[in-house]
């Protein structure tokens, strides 16, 4: 029972931490840790009539 409670607490902490990190990343805090300066190139669309998400022009 005690180990189950501990696991539940660990999972809750991980979930909350993940949500906080997600929020901070979207707010721009520490986003440099996950991103590079390389410009994102969308994948070529060969079979679907709809193109992939289009990355904005950096200029």
């Amino acid at each position: 029972m005690a180990s189950r409670r501990t696991l539940d607490r660990i999972i809750l902490v991980v979930l909350i931490s993940g949500a906080i990190v997600f929020g901070l990343l979207l707010a721009g805090v520490g986003s440099g840790l996950l991103t590079t300066s390389t410009h994102y190139t969308p994948p070529p669309s060969t079979a679907s009539p709809s193109p992939g998400p289009v990355a904005p022009d950096p200029s």
Binding site: I11, L26, G52
Partner: protein
Amino acid sequence: MTSTTTRPRIRLAVALGFGAAVALTLGIYGRIHDPTGGSLVTLFFTRTITLKAWLATAAVLFALFQGATALRMYSKLGRRTGPRWLRPAHRISGTAAFMLTIPVAYHCLWALGFQWQSGTRVLLHGIFGCLFFGALAAKVLVVRTRRMPSWALPVLGGAVFTALVLIWATSALWFFGTNGFRV
């Protein structure tokens, strides 16, 4: 109507409201935030898109395990509730799936934004993405709150699972189908 029946409904309404707020917030953020167009750190993958496609695929595999273990725990898959390790395995796999979706969703929102003029697939992908995180937030609240309506957890779990599979189908599956299984 007694308070014993109204209170669970109020709790559920609060959880659903919180989930809706999460989904709306992400959608609004995706629209008003100027997309950076940057790439993710790709680790050992060759490109950002392959990293995202494989992370999403891993999350869906965890979600499939989640669905199977949930059905077993509630005796919908077999007569008994399953071994003791099933419940912690269910929770750990769900947490792992959530963690895998964070860098993917972060890149979608941060670098690309919510796009509604790039075709049906992209639009649906954005909508399902917002729905997924909203349903997930509501589900976590329902799991952690006592005396919820008995149907709430399976319905929300199903919504989370369905949204994740649809996200995957409109992104990773499309990518693998058009570009092959690249790493």
